[in-house]
C-alpha cells in the first residue's frame, strides 16, 4: 500500500497526559492503574482513570456535547499541540479535505446513565437538559471533534468494540487512497462508565487485582480510559517544519466468525490480521522488532493471541502488553497500542510487559520481562474485539 505518515499524534491515558509523559511512565515501568476511586462507579476494581476531566474547561459553544467522553476528546485535542497541527493541515488542504475517523465503543453513554437515574418519576421521561444525540450517539465523538477543529470533510465513527480505533486507521487510509480526502484525524476515545465495568463484571472478566496480562495467574482485565489522535497524511506531504511521529506501513483485518465474546482458541482470525499487515507493509516476520499485544489479561484472550503471534512471528520476536499500565481502554485501545509501539520506534525501546511476575509457562511467544533499549525499526500493534473483530497495524520510522 501507499505509505502514509502519522505526521502528528497525541495520547492521554492513565499513564500520563501527552506522549512525553506517557513515554516517561512507560520507560520507568510505572502503572497508571489505581483502585477505583470514582464514587459513582460502585465496583471494587482497578481502573485506568484520567485525572482532571471533571474540571476541564469545555468549549461553551459546544456545551450540548458536554459529557465525560467528549471531555477526554477535548483534553486530547489540547495536548501535544495536536489541534494546532490539524489547523495547519486544514489551512494547507482546505477544511473540507480533512476527514475525521474515530473509534469508540460506548461514546458518551455515561451521560445516558445519569439521565436514566434522573428519569421523571411519573412519566419516565429523560431530563430536559440531557442531549442524547450530542452525547450518547456513537457519532457524537466525530461530530464534536469536527466542530472543535472546524473541519468539514467526510466523517465516520468506527465501532467494532475493542478494535475500533485500529480499524479507524484502516478506513482512514482507504479514504486517502480513494482520493476522498488529503488528511484524516484518526483516533479513539472511550471513557469509564458503569455499563461497561458492570458488563465485564457480569462476564466475570474483571481481575480483582490490577490486571496481569500474560501472567500465569492472570484473571481478567482492568478497564481504563484514553484519548488518542493521529494526523494521517500521504508520506512526505505533512508540515515540513515538524518531524512526523511515525509511518503507517500496513494493516490487516479479519473476523473470527466464531463467537461474540470468546476468541478462536488458535487465534486464527488474529493470524490472518497479522499476516495481512505484514503483506501490505512488505515485511517478513523476522523484520518485526516488537509487537504491542492486545494482551487484555483474560485467560482465553492472551492464550489465543500467544498462539497467533507464535504461529505468525515465531518464538523470538519481542512482544508485550501495556494494558497493565493503561488498563484496557476498549475502543481507544487500538490507537493506544499503536502510539505506544510508535514511541518505541521514536525513542528506541521495547517496553516490558507491565504487571508481570511469571509468564504463562504454556506460552511460546517472546513476552518481554524487562524493557529493552536499542533501535526499533518495524512494529506491529494488535487489537481484537467482541464480535470477533481483529486488526493489526504495522508502523515504521517516518
Amino acid at each position: 500500500m501507499e505509505a502514509l505518515d502519522i505526521s502528528a499524534a497525541t495520547l492521554v491515558c492513565a499513564m500520563g497526559r501527552g506522549l512525553d509523559d506517557v513515554a516517561t511512565a512507560l520507560r520507568a515501568e510505572r502503572s497508571g492503574l489505581r483502585l477505583n476511586d470514582l464514587p459513582w462507579l460502585d465496583v471494587d476494581t482497578h481502573i485506568g482513570r484520567v485525572d482532571g476531566l471533571e474540571d476541564l474547561a469545555f468549549p461553551p459553544a459546544l456545551s450540548k456535547f458536554d459529557c465525560r467522553n467528549n471531555r477526554l476528546a477535548q483534553m486530547g485535542l489540547e495536548t501535544d499541540g495536536f489541534s494546532g497541527r490539524v489547523a495547519a493541515a486544514a489551512e494547507r488542504y482546505g477544511p473540507g479535505r480533512v476527514a475525521v475517523v474515530l473509534g469508540t465503543s460506548t461514546s458518551g453513554i455515561r451521560q445516558t446513565e445519569l439521565a436514566y437515574e434522573a428519569r421523571d418519576a411519573e412519566t419516565g421521561a429523560l431530563p430536559a437538559d440531557f442531549h442524547l444525540k450530542e452525547t450518547h450517539d456513537f457519532f457524537s465523538l466525530a461530530d464534536f471533534v469536527r466542530r472543535a477543529l472546524a473541519l468539514t470533510g467526510p466523517a465516520a465513527v468506527v465501532s467494532t468494540a475493542c478494535s475500533s480505533s485500529s480499524r479507524a486507521f484502516v478506513d482512514a487510509s482507504r479514504l486517502i487512497e480513494a482520493g476522498l480526502c488529503d488528511a484524516v484525524v484518526v483516533g479513539g476515545v472511550d471513557t469509564l462508565c458503569r455499563l461497561t465495568v458492570r458488563g465485564f463484571g457480569a462476564l466475570e472478566l474483571l481481575d480483582a487485582q490490577p490486571c496481569r496480562p500474560n501472567d500465569r495467574s492472570r484473571s481478567g482485565i482492568s478497564i481504563g480510559e484514553a484519548a488518542g489522535f493521529a494526523l494521517l497524511e500521504r508520506a512526505g506531504q505533512g508540515d515540513a517544519s515538524a518531524a512526523p511521529f511515525a509511518r503507517l506501513l500496513g494493516f490487516g483485518e479479519s473476523s473470527d466468525g466464531y463467537h461474540m465474546s470468546a476468541p478462536n482458541p488458535e487465534g486464527k482470525g488474529a493470524q490472518i490480521a497479522m499476516r495481512d499487515a505484514l503483506r501490505r507493509a512488505g515485511l517478513r516476520a523476522d523484520q518485526i522488532d516488537y509487537v504491542n499485544l492486545h494482551g487484555t489479561g483474560t485467560p482465553l484472550n492472551d492464550r489465543a493471541e500467544d498462539a497467533a503471534v507464535s504461529a505468525v512471528l515465531g518464538p523470538d520476536v519481542p512482544a508485550s502488553s501495556t494494558k497493565g499500565g493503561t488498563g484496557h481502554t476498549l475502543g481507544a485501545s487500538g490507537i493506544t497500542g499503536v502510539l505506544l509501539a510508535g514511541l518505541g520506534i521514536r525513542l528506541g525501546f521495547k517496553p516490558r510487559n507491565l504487571n508481570l511476575v511469571e509468564v504463562d509457562p504454556d506460552f511460546r511467544s517472546h513476552i518481554l520481562t524487562s524493557t529493552q533499549t536499542g533501535p526499533v525499526r518495524h512494529v506491529l500493534a494488535n487489537a481484537f474485539g467482541f464480535g470477533g473483530s481483529n486488526c493489526s497495524v504495522a508502523l515504521g520510522a517516518a
Partner: protein, 265 residues
C-alpha cells in the same frame, strides 16, 4: 473517486419486505402503505442465535441475505461494512434500565450483544467467515458515511463488498429524545465498475448542497427518509428503481456532501 457497480440490493422497511416490493412503490406502481413488518431471523443463524438475535440484527441480516442472493454471491464470501446510527438500541436500553436498580445485575449475554458491531459479528459467525467486517456510525448520516467507507474499500482494494445500513426506533424514553421512526434495513453488493450482472453503475464526487438528502418524488417515502437514517438510502434507490440516470446528493456528515451519479445498466 473511481466509480463502482451495484450487483445486488436488499431492502426491508415499513410496508415492504424486499427490493422488489420497494422498487414497485418507488416507481409509483402502487400506493405506499406503511406498516410495521414482522422481521424473522434469517435461517443462516443457528437456532440459539436466532433466539438471541435482536430486531436490529434480524433487520440487518435479512437485508444482507437479499442483496447477496440477488448478486449471486455465496453468503459470507464478501468483506462487509455494516452501518447504523445506534446499533443495538433495544439491548442498550435494557442494560441502562438494569443499571438503575439498587444492586444492578447485568446479563452477560446482553452485554456482549450490546456492542455496535453485534449485527456484523452475527453475520460473520453465521457464515464462519474470517473476512473483515466493519461497523460504522454516522449518526443521521450513517447510510452515506457507510457507503463512502465501503466504496473507498472497493476502489482501493479492487474487490466486491457488502454494505448494510439499518436503523430502528430505540425504546422509550430514548426515542422521545431522539426520534427515529420505523425499522429500515438496506443492503447493497458493490463490485468493480463493469462487473457482470450490474444493476447500475455509480460515480461519486464531492459536492456542495443545502439538503442532507435528495428529496424523493413520493412524499410519504420522503417522510420515511426524514425519520430514519438508513432510509435516506431511498434517495439513491429511487433512480435505480425507475431506471433513470440521476445525480443524487447525500450528506455524509454535517456540511459534507457527495454527488452519487446513478447510471442504470
Amino acid at each position: 473517486m473511481e466509480g463502482f457497480a451495484i450487483t445486488g440490493i436488499g431492502v426491508i422497511g415499513p410496508g415492504f419486505e424486499s427490493w422488489h416490493d420497494c422498487a414497485g412503490i418507488l416507481r409509483g406502481e402502487r400506493p405506499y402503505e406503511p406498516a410495521d413488518m414482522a422481521i424473522v431471523a434469517p435461517p443462516i443463524l443457528s437456532p440459539r442465535e436466532r433466539r438471541r438475535a435482536s430486531p436490529t440484527v434480524r433487520l440487518a441480516l435479512g437485508a444482507a441475505m437479499q442483496a447477496v442472493e440477488q448478486a449471486g454471491q455465496p453468503a459470507g464470501a464478501l468483506p462487509a461494512v455494516f452501518g447504523s446510527c445506534h446499533g443495538e438500541g433495544k439491548v442498550t436500553h435494557s442494560l441502562l434500565d438494569a443499571l438503575t436498580a439498587p444492586e444492578p445485575v447485568l446479563s452477560p449475554t446482553q452485554f456482549h450483544n450490546s456492542v455496535h458491531n453485534t449485527a456484523a459479528g452475527y453475520w460473520t459467525i453465521a457464515h464462519s467467515s474470517q473476512l473483515p467486517c466493519d461497523s460504522i456510525s454516522g449518526g443521521d448520516y450513517s447510510f452515506a458515511a457507510t457507503l463512502l467507507i465501503a466504496a473507498a474499500q472497493v476502489v482501493s482494494e479492487q474487490h466486491a463488498m457488502l454494505v448494510v445500513a439499518y436503523d430502528a426506533a430505540m425504546p422509550e424514553p430514548m426515542n422521545s429524545k431522539r426520534p427515529i421512526a420505523g425499522a429500515f434495513g438496506v443492503a447493497l453488493v458493490l463490485d468493480l465498475s463493469g462487473a457482470a450482472g450490474a444493476i447500475c453503475e455509480v460515480g461519486c464526487a464531492s459536492a456542495k448542497a443545502d439538503a442532507e438528502w435528495a428529496a424523493l418524488a413520493n412524499g410519504e417515502i420522503n417522510m420515511l427518509a426524514a425519520k430514519n437514517p438508513a432510509a435516506r438510502s431511498l434517495a439513491l434507490l429511487e433512480p435505480i428503481a425507475t431506471g433513470e440516470r440521476r445525480e443524487v446528493v447525500l450528506g455524509c456528515a454535517p456540511g459534507a456532501f457527495h454527488e452519487w451519479t446513478v447510471r442504470p445498466c
